[in-house]
């Protein structure tokens, strides 16, 4: 039941509806099995390398938990302990690690295209855990898994992705998969953080979020990084929050069943207020729980003996 002839999971851009549904339905059955306390040990005897060139807490722990729950073992290295700083090329780093004989590599890197490069030079499956602002496919899948779990389907639902779209791999993975699954996707953020030609992907660019919030079924709130204001993308956090911060006040006309997602880590009081992040519409911790399940599904489909 491999989801493609591809050996790796690099991004969702190339995924059609069928391939997306294969993973999502596999995740649903794994979640049910897990609820029934039935465990699959499909990664028994396999070792997965989690190679994080960029700091991460939840994604790395989520992957490592998924690997362990499937009976596999993981070895993790992060940039701080790597030999990258010693001047070794990425090619050599990856080739040396590969020579130790891992069954798959989960990789995060600040540059878009690094997983693609590793995929080209290695024979083992490569799972993209976030490359620059290109894609974060497991996050996209867990977001949609959570949306489907909450509302049955994303088809014809309205999804607003809010914040720094330009620098967001979460936004791109969400957009590709949501569009394939028939959702209506809206993006909003300061004009400087809306990437060129984004409308050509099939999304609607929103300038005033107060106009559209009442129609939304889901709002995926992206993290705003402080350093963006230093680079002149917007003047101050205060001004950002005034226009795009998700406050209780802004949600007064929202649908009662609106779900609010956030990939974390949250900047409370900046892109989202605590009252909203902890409020009745939030599914943020469901995302985290589902993250492990969705990553189990990905690993199982890519690595389990068939």
């Amino acid at each position: 039941m491999k989801f493609s002839p591809d050996k790796s999971l690099l991004g969702l851009r190339s995924f059609n509806r069928n391939r997306l549904e294969t993973i999502l339905s596999h995740a649903r059955s794994l979640k049910q099995l897990y609820a029934d306390n039935t465990h699959t040990r499909s990664l028994q005897g396999k070792t997965v390398l989690t190679l994080f060139f960029e700091p991460s807490t939840r994604t790395r722990v989520s992957f490592e938990t998924a690997i362990k729950r499937l009976g596999g073992s993981s070895v993790g290295i992060s940039m701080e302990t790597s030999s990258v700083k010693k001047g070794e090329t990425l090619f050599d780093t990856v080739k040396n690690l590969d020579a130790m004989g891992f069954d798959a590599i989960v990789v995060r890197h600040r540059n878009a295209g690094v997983p693609h490069f590793i995929d080209r030079i290695l024979d083992v499956p490569v799972i993209n855990a976030g490359d620059g602002f290109n894609e974060h496919p497991s996050q996209g899948l867990l977001d949609i898994f959570t949306m489907q779990e909450q509302r049955g389907t994303v088809e014809n639902r309205n999804v607003l992705i809010l914040g720094d779209i330009l620098h967001s791999r979460v936004a791109r993975s969400n957009i590709w998969a949501l569009l394939q699954l028939g959702a209506k996707v809206f993006v909003a953020g300061p004009p400087t953080l809306i990437p060129a030609n984004i409308a050509d992907l099939g999304v609607t660019v929103v300038h005033d979020i107060d106009d559209v919030i009442p129609q939304m079924d889901f709002i995926n709130v992206l993290r705003i990084q402080y350093e963006r204001q230093d680079l002149g993308y917007f003047p101050t956090i205060r001004e950002y929050r005034d226009q795009f911060g998700l406050t209780q006040e802004r949600l007064k006309d929202a649908k009662p069943e609106l779900c609010i997602l956030h990939p974390g880590p949250i900047n409370r009081g900046i892109e989202i207020d605590s009252a909203v992040a902890d409020g009745p519409n939030n599914v943020i911790l469901n995302q985290v729980t589902n993250g492990v399940i969705v990553r189990m599904a990905i690993l199982d489909l890519l690595l389990a003996p068939k």
Binding site: R13, T89, L90, F91, H109, N111, A112, G113, V114, H116, F117, D131, G132, F133, N134, E135, R169, R172, P195, A196, N197, I198, D200, L201
Partner: protein
């Protein structure tokens, strides 16, 4: 090496300046001097070698006018010798070298060093450009006049000067030297850390974009400076439609502005970056399909004056990494001639003389380099080119140390079969079998 008198017969001699072609014969004596044109030697002439190039074109003085030769400083990437081998095998008879070596060519001593080094190696002529500012620091003018006297053919810091005031002074100061300032237009504060063209593809690939405006604004600025303060500017390479339009209008205004581009901008657009293959990482970046088409239009109407390889050879490590980290640039000396002729003559239907101008007479005119044409009593430099057969470009054919080329594996025509420099055969393809027998049936008298 053939040192006796040779007769190159039945070639279609292209005159890029006059735009003509004629079938003729060339007699070149043992001193490399043309002693006869158009007629066949009598039986009692001392011709000892006859090379029949029937159906092939002879183009004089093909020059690659923008090469980073890496020597001195990065001999692991290229040397004068390897670049020269690539040039002659690729049909190029002279190279114009950028000053971005280590040390930088920013003094008359360095200019003289390159001339001496080239003469000692006995290789293809190399014409150095000098740096515009000391150490390419963008703050103080280098010794332009002394470098000019030592033989620098133009001045460049590579990217356009950040400091508008210094650019003004450079133009004023160099105006009476009558040598071009070569500008690769880019505003680093606009292009930031971009690695590809800004647009749909940068958005879907999650790569930082370089807007077309970062090139066009600098072209606009420097055109205005030339109009106000004089001087001569050659923009290389231009990559966008608006850049071509700006130069077109500057030429209408009669300004001393020229521009050139490189073959890869005529073949590929930004969509080539999809897949993150590092051979497609170049600066300026591959632009949109419409920009690519505008460059071809600019060549057709004469706005674009030159095509040069923008040769930037790298070791394997420079490209064997991810797209963001990879070194930008293409190794292009080996492929300048065949890629240019294939695209513009075979695909776009331009005449071979019009295309020849872009790689021979125009760069020589822009850099004020005087080289003899194919004429009696001169030592000629020319290339014999086959436009009939197609070949697949293999990396094993490269003589450059840099194998960073997106053209490898593609089909081309316009193969160079013989390269003659200053009357000496420097390269000859085995397909041209020199013989001592002339068949009068196939020879015009």
């Amino acid at each position: 090496m053939i040192t006796e008198t040779i007769a190159v017969i039945n070639g279609r001699l292209v005159d890029p300046v006059r735009g003509t072609e004629e079938v003729t014969n060339l007699l070149i004596n043992s001193n490399g001097i043309v002693t006869g044109m158009g007629y066949l030697p009598d039986d009692d002439d001392d011709t000892s070698t006859v090379i029949d190039v029937k159906g092939r074109f002879i183009i004089p003085n093909i020059t690659d006018s923008h090469c980073s030769l890496r020597e001195p400083g990065h001999e692991d990437k290229e040397t004068f010798l390897s670049a020269s081998d690539a040039a002659v095998a690729g049909g190029i008879t002279a190279l114009i070298a950028t000053p971005d070596t280590h040390p930088i060519v920013d003094t008359p001593e360095m200019v003289s060093f390159i001339h001496a080094r080239r003469r000692a190696a006995g290789i293809v002529p190399i014409y150095p450009m000098g740096a515009l500012s000391k150490g390419i620091n963008g703050l103080e003018l280098a010794e332009l006049r002394l470098m000019h006297e030592a033989g620098a053919v133009g001045f460049t810091d590579g990217n356009s000067l950040e400091h508008t005031g210094l650019m003004r002074h450079a133009l004023q100061y160099s105006a009476d030297l009558d040598r071009p300032i070569i500008v690769t237009p880019d505003d680093p504060l606009l292009s930031q850390n971009g690695v590809m063209n800004e647009g749909y593809y940068s958005t879907i690939l999650g790569l930082r974009g370089i807007p077309a405006e970062s090139e066009e604004l600098r072209i606009s600025r420097d055109i205005e400076l030339v109009e106000r303060f004089g001087g001569v500017v050659h923009f290389f390479p231009v990559s966008t439609a608006q850049s071509v339009e700006l130069v077109r209008r500057a030429k209408v205004r009669g300004l001393a502005i020229t521009c050139g581009t490189a073959p890869h901008y005529l073949y590929f657009d930004e969509s080539a970056v999809d897949g993150y293959l590092t051979h497609f990482k170049v600066t300026p970046p591959l632009r949109s399909a419409a920009d690519r088409q505008a460059l071809i239009e600019g060549i057709k109407d004469g706005t674009i004056d030159t095509i040069a390889s923008h040769h930037q050879p790298h070791t394997i490590d420079g490209k064997r990494t991810d797209f963001v980290e990879a070194d930008p640039g293409i190794s292009g000396i080996d492929t300048l001639v065949c890629t240019t002729l294939t695209k513009l003559v075979r695909d776009e239907g331009l005449s071979i003389s019009q295309v020849s101008r872009l790689i021979s007479s125009n760069p020589l005119a822009i850099y004020r380099i005087k080289r003899p044409g194919i004429a009696l009593m001169k030592r000629p430099s020319f290339t014999v080119i086959d436009m009939k057969n197609e070949f697949t470009l293999e990396s094993s054919q490269f003589k450059s140390k840099g194998l960073n080329s997106p053209f490898i594996g593609r089909q081309f025509t316009g193969k160079s079969l013989m390269t003659v420099i200053e009357g000496r055969i420097r390269f000859i393809d085995p397909i041209l079998k020199p013989s001592s027998v002339i068949d009068p049936e196939h020879t015009p008298r």
